[in-house]
Amino acid sequence: MATLTLRDIRKSYPGAAAETIKGVSLDVADREFVVFVGPSGCGKSTLLRMIAGLEDISGGELAIDGVRMNETGPAGRGLAMVFQSYALYPHMTVRQNMEFALKLAKLPVVERRAKVEEAARILQLTDYLDRTPRQLSGGQRQRVAIGRAIVRSPKVFLFDEPLSNLDAALRGQMRLELARLHNELAATMIYVTHDQIEAMTLADKIVVLRAGRVEQLGSPLELYRDPANIFVAGFIGAPKMNLHPGRVLDTRPDGVRIALDSGPVLDVAVAGDRLAPGAAITFGARPEDITVAGTAGPDRLSGRVVVVEHLGGQTLVHLETDSGESWLVQTDGSSTIAIGDTVHLGFDGTVSHVFDGQGQAVPRLHRHDPSAEAARIRAVS
């Protein structure tokens, strides 16, 4: 059992003008896989390091299994961390690296050996136990770093961008390994990344951070389906959501009629009670929710194709409207659209998003079928 509770956690570095972490509250359940995601410099590492005990907590309370841990040192918290640089001890063999913590804990040699060998088996490192880190590939080093965490049977695993030093293919593979490991160890994990695909695929719960604040917190599907604001909408989901300005024409019980600055008039199924006619809004539509229509129309957007990316199973079409806006549409792989073509886009008002003048999402009226969403996310990642 390992639960983690953050209550209004704050951090101000000495000498820094503003707080780096501006009050983060979070509950991590036992065996949950929580991912902190956000752009570089938003304070993900700082937050993780405060949980680990490597940075002092300036305000708020951190509790592990209900016990306040603010004043406990890193070793006393029972956590293990995997660093971005791996931080392996270069002069020790893989075995020595993994058993270092056990040796310091004065565990009997037999027990140590058993734990190291078990971890090596899980991570397929058995043949490499007597090598030094420099004799290993990047992926193997990464696994040693994880092995060093596993042998300690920590309450919570902490990962700080563990895959960012690997090449794309290896990153995909290690991502799967981590997901497998999470199941196999039934461990609580907190994982930091700036890569939203890692966040979507690994997380039970995603915490989107920006400038030291939690922008939104929820399951990957919740964030994908109902982003709370423009920032989350733009950050979660690949390819990125199209976000373009417009204004409200009319509000009705079954939705809002809006006019995009680039022309089309659309009916979107969002709650209109917060919006007044004439209010400036931002319209959001995911590239996979837009269809290429045969003809132009008042609810259609016309644009010239500037780039076509054939990904095999799908095609990404980038277009530019007469007003200069860039739009991205995802169509099927057999699409014959070519650069220079003029295409017309059709929108589905039940899956589109509207954000008010403050960038906050206007609640949508239609809930989605989760299984259909799941299928779509698999296709995205």
């Binding site: 490597l54 971005q84 002069h91 270092f100």
Partner: protein, 295 residues
């Protein structure tokens, strides 16, 4: 010769004409004095007695090794070198680790610790002799007096210890400089990983910092040894090798033979021994460095 080694060896041959001038200079620089020393060491050659000439065979060496002063000087050299090494490397490591952590005034402290390096040996020896260790005017004497102790006459009572202190003071900056760079190059995440693994400051030092510094420590030992074997000015200025032969090192013995007793032959024999000694040390240290570089 296999095909793959051909280009390499050909290019090595092609570089020879360009290498030749520097090799030639190096040869003249080293071989000529070495040959002359070897030659003189087999000659009867005393500046005070021009009539004494001719081939002496191994007589000069015989007189040298049967001279008790020679063995004393070897022991003194060893004591000086080892003590200074222990003090500078030990204290240097400690200071390097200390100066790696942040504290107010760190930059000034660093500057102060480096400063002795810029004082020339004769000056620092004189400074220590007259300002610090002098039983009447020296700071140590004053402090001892203030606390009611009898001042120590360093150069009479503990001459070797006094020399060791002076030379250590001169060489500590070098050790700190090299070792500090080594400590600073340690990846901070390694220390943090060790902290999470439950390593306290001492365990971190022993298992993480010290192994990381091993190569730098070897370099410091090698370079210092080579310079410490030839320490002369400090002894000349303070004790002149005395009292008796208490601080006569091999370097000082050679000086005394050549320029106090005008026995060029005997001094050269001492010089040859010094060369052999330095080379033994060098071989040892180059080997250990090479092994470190491989590891």
């Amino acid at each position: 010769m296999s095909a793959s080694t051909m280009p390499a060896s050909r290019s090595r041959g092609a570089g020879l004409p360009f290498l030749a001038p520097s090799v030639l200079v190096l040869l003249l620089w080293m071989i000529v004095p070495l040959a002359m020393t070897l030659w003189f060491s087999t000659q009867r050659y005393n500046l005070l007695d021009p009539t004494q000439t001719g081939f002496a065979g191994i007589d000069n060496y015989y007189y040298l090794v049967t001279d008790p002063d020679f063995w004393t000087s070897l022991v003194n050299t060893l004591v000086l070198v080892v003590s200074v090494l222990v003090i500078t490397v030990g204290l240097g490591t400690l200071l390097a680790v200390l100066y790696d952590t942040a504290f107010p005034g760190r930059n000034i402290a660093r500057l102060l610790v480096i400063a002795p390096f810029f004082v020339m040996p004769t000056v620092s020896a004189l400074m220590w002799k007259n300002l610090m260790m002098h039983p009447i005017y020296g700071l140590f004497g004053v402090v001892a007096h203030a606390f009611g102790f009898a001042p120590i006459d360093w150069f009479a009572q503990y001459p070797m210890a006094a020399i060791v202190i002076i030379v250590s003071w001169e060489w500590l900056p070098f050790a700190v400089l090299i070792l500090l760079t080594a400590v600073q190059s340690l990846d901070g995440e390694q220390k943090e990983a060790a902290r999470l693994d439950g390593a306290g400051p001492i365990a971190q030092f022993v298992y993480i910092i010290l192994p990381h510094m091993r190569r730098a420590i070897t370099v410091v030992i090698m370079i210092e040894t080579i310079f410490l074997l030839t320490i002369f000015a400090e002894i000349f200025v303070t004790t002149s090798g005395g009292p008796g032969t208490a601080t006569t090192t091999l370097a000082y013995l050679i000086y005394a033979r050549a320029l106090l007793q005008y026995d060029v032959g005997g001094a050269s024999a001492g010089g040859v021994v010094a060369i052999v000694l330095a080379n033994i040390v060098a071989i040892f240290l180059v080997r250990s460095i090479a092994r470190n570089l491989e590891a």
